[in-house]
Symmetry: C2
Subunit: 424 residues, 2 copies
């Protein structure tokens, strides 16, 4: 029962200073308009409990910062119609940038979630020096930032997505087995390449960011009853991102979600991590290609775009090619054997298939669901549904862009007051 | 970006009615005294931002309800010394009651965490009709409630702990493989046996409750930096309870933590769930006893108290008995193989050994830690420490009692105003 001073839920109602109070109220109004939709100042006051004069002043500042704008007049209002206030999408953008085993990707999203620019280039990262890869990625990021400026927008931040163990606080990549990278200070190196920009640069685990994007996707599709998801990102490596009770599960040191290295396959091959029997040796993209194709088959070529290669696999599966179908069924079953472990431990509402698992989902889903039914101890798989993400290989970059935008929703003063001016 | 009305973090600051406002303020004051320690009314007012007259009125009501009491005078205060207000332990108790494979247990804790009564009786539950087991448990609960009354206290609630899949909302036990119970409405049946009492009766998964108790234990030992733990409860079955980011991880339907059925041991025996290769077939108490003892060895007898049986195993291990030591090393290694999966997925600050794993921890810990070092992909096991719980087989009942008390801290009006009167 002894408790230290540090945690006092609900107590410690210390008076906030005026600056932080104003910042908080700006955030309340901005998030309310995002979530509840465009509405009049009077309605915002009524919804939030803030008084009307305060709301007018807060909205004026948010318009100044390019985050809100006046929209159409209120329809059907009695008396003088109020002007509706709506989210200003153009003013501010978040950028997500991904380094993966065989591609780089960048996306910029504006405040309303619209895609401003999206690029993916095939690159054999595992066989390239990290500094060359970072050079290439910096070039893509600069193009995205330029595209944001060109439409009158401001870049709120850049988030790097990497398939590895990340120390978010220091911006350090500890280990990315499939890239062959160890102890790379990716944030520092990227900041230097971007000319030490004014906007923040962050790094996070690729599967964590993809899980955030997939969680938004599932909530839009299913409503707010979804609170727990597990996202599986299938590429050469396999990552897991988990949202539990509505929050990203990061773990004590930020190293959660290393599902690719569950020792489920005693007969599996040697993994990028140096061990044998890891889950990704039987369900990763390389495992599928090794089973489905010959060594000189062009779909194995990492210099080709991964979606083109998967389109070819899809074509063969649709044509009924026995070897392809057998390989897909085999991967689907292994996917279920590891998936059942995750479902038994975490009992998610939804197991989301991301990356290549989503693309080839039509062939993976049935053996996967069957393995889960057989192996999950709770009746009917504990109520867990298997759903293919529509985000494909863009989930991580979208999640990265979203994290940068989330910071603006939490603290709108991060955006300069000239944002709207630039847009005009 | 489309969002439904349901989730509006930070917005929707709707004016609370007076009753709920008062209830909330009672909770703020009560929790503040619990967490920050005994202090004067003036100090409570300063700490919480509530005005002094309100604090006096709130404290008076909490004293009336038997939750706070006046303690000694403030030491070294300038001017008129203030009376210190402190938690009144005696007034209110929570009761936890556990059904496990080979024992029943009951504990009552008072508001300050003191044990009022603690009982454990060996019982071969798996071979007994559920209604007889519930009869026996009801008798133990009535004894605990009587002990609480005898010292002038009020029972705030009873929480049943069961090693199985629980639907908390309906009080239904869906499935407990090791008890052989299916679809038992345990809360309804227990309420009927207790004569439909005024206090609430709940049911929760045994490992979840044990994890809550272990989480409090780790925070007391290590301070508030611990936010993520995995508790392994070792009995005939093996359960997992997880706290992530400071919150119990329940999963989408409350069926999380079924770690005992991870298929890690292709050569394992047949599990209570009907499958082969489940983790608990190689690390459960039965697995240890089968390896370490002959079939007619009295330590296998479930009618003897489990702690006595484990004391005998401990004696043999300390005496250097080769068969016992080999069995313990084997179980420790398997514990690490499954433990590494959990650590890779969840990256806890602490992996807590509970139940029989805690008792025999001195022999299990080294092979377990070695397996985790080898198999966890993050450097140095992702910073995860292995710690033996001191709560032994009382963790689940303590967690159950705690949950009932937590409700009182959240809403002190759950306790009648006559509580203090009874105590005098």
């Amino acid at each position: 029962m002894a408790l230290s001073e540090g945690s006092r839920p609900g107590s410690g109602v210390v008076a906030a200073d005026h600056v932080s109070l104003r910042r908080n109220n700006l955030s309340v109004v901005l998030r309310h308009v995002r979530e509840a939709g465009s509405r009049s100042r009077a309605r915002i006051a009524a919804d939030t409990g803030l008084n009307k004069a305060t709301v007018s002043s807060l909205v004026a500042e948010l318009v100044d910062r390019g985050l809100l704008r006046d929209g159409q007049s209120e329809a059907g209002a009695l008396g003088r119609p109020g002007q509706l206030v709506e989210l200003d999408g153009r003013g501010v953008c978040g950028v997500g940038a991904e380094i993966n085993v065989d591609y780089l990707a960048v996306t910029a999203l504006d405040l309303s979630g619209e895609t401003v620019i999206e690029q993916r280039v095939p690159l054999d990262v595992a066989h390239l020096d990290p500094s060359l890869t970072l050079d290439r990625l910096a070039k893509l990021i600069r193009q995205a930032v330029t595209a944001v400026s060109a439409r009158g927008g401001q870049t709120a931040g850049v988030t790097l997505a990497v398939p590895g163990l990340i120390q978010s606080a220091t911006g350090m990549l500890k280990l990315a087995p499939n890239l062959g990278w160890t102890e790379v200070p990716v944030v520092d190196k990227m900041r230097a390449r971007l000319g030490d920009p004014a906007y923040p640069v962050r790094v996070d685990n690729e599967a964590n960011l993809a899980a955030l994007a997939a969680y938004s996707e599932m909530k839009v599709a299913d409503g707010d009853q979804v609170q727990d998801i597990v996202l599986l990102t299938g590429a050469v490596g396999v990552g897991g991102g988990m949202v539990t009770g509505g929050h990203l599960l990061r773990g004590g040191h930020g190293f959660s979600g290393e599902v690719g290295h569950m020792p489920v396959a005693p007969v599996g091959g040697i993994c990028g991590c140096g061990r044998t029997g890891c889950w990704e040796t039987v369900v990763g993209l390389t495992a599928l290609l090794n089973k489905a194709t010959d060594p000189d088959d062009p779909v194995r070529d990492p210099s080709l775009d991964v979606e083109q290669r998967l389109a070819e696999i899809t074509r063969r599966a649709e044509a009924g090619d026995t070897r392809t179908l057998r390989a897909l069924a085999d991967v689907g079953t292994w996917l279920g054997i590891g998936g059942a472990i995750l479902v038994n431990i975490l009992n998610p509402d939804v197991l989301v298939l991301g990356g290549y698992f989503a693309v080839l989902g039509p062939w993976l889903k049935e053996p996967l669901e069957s393995a889960i039914r057989d192996r999950v101890i709770a009746p009917e798989g504990g109520g867990c549904r298997v759903v293919r993400s529509e985000l494909g290989f863009t989930a991580a970059v979208r999640g990265g862009a979203q994290i940068s935008l989330d910071q603006v929703f939490l603290d709108p003063t991060l955006v300069g007051r000239d944002a709207a001016g630039v847009a005009q």
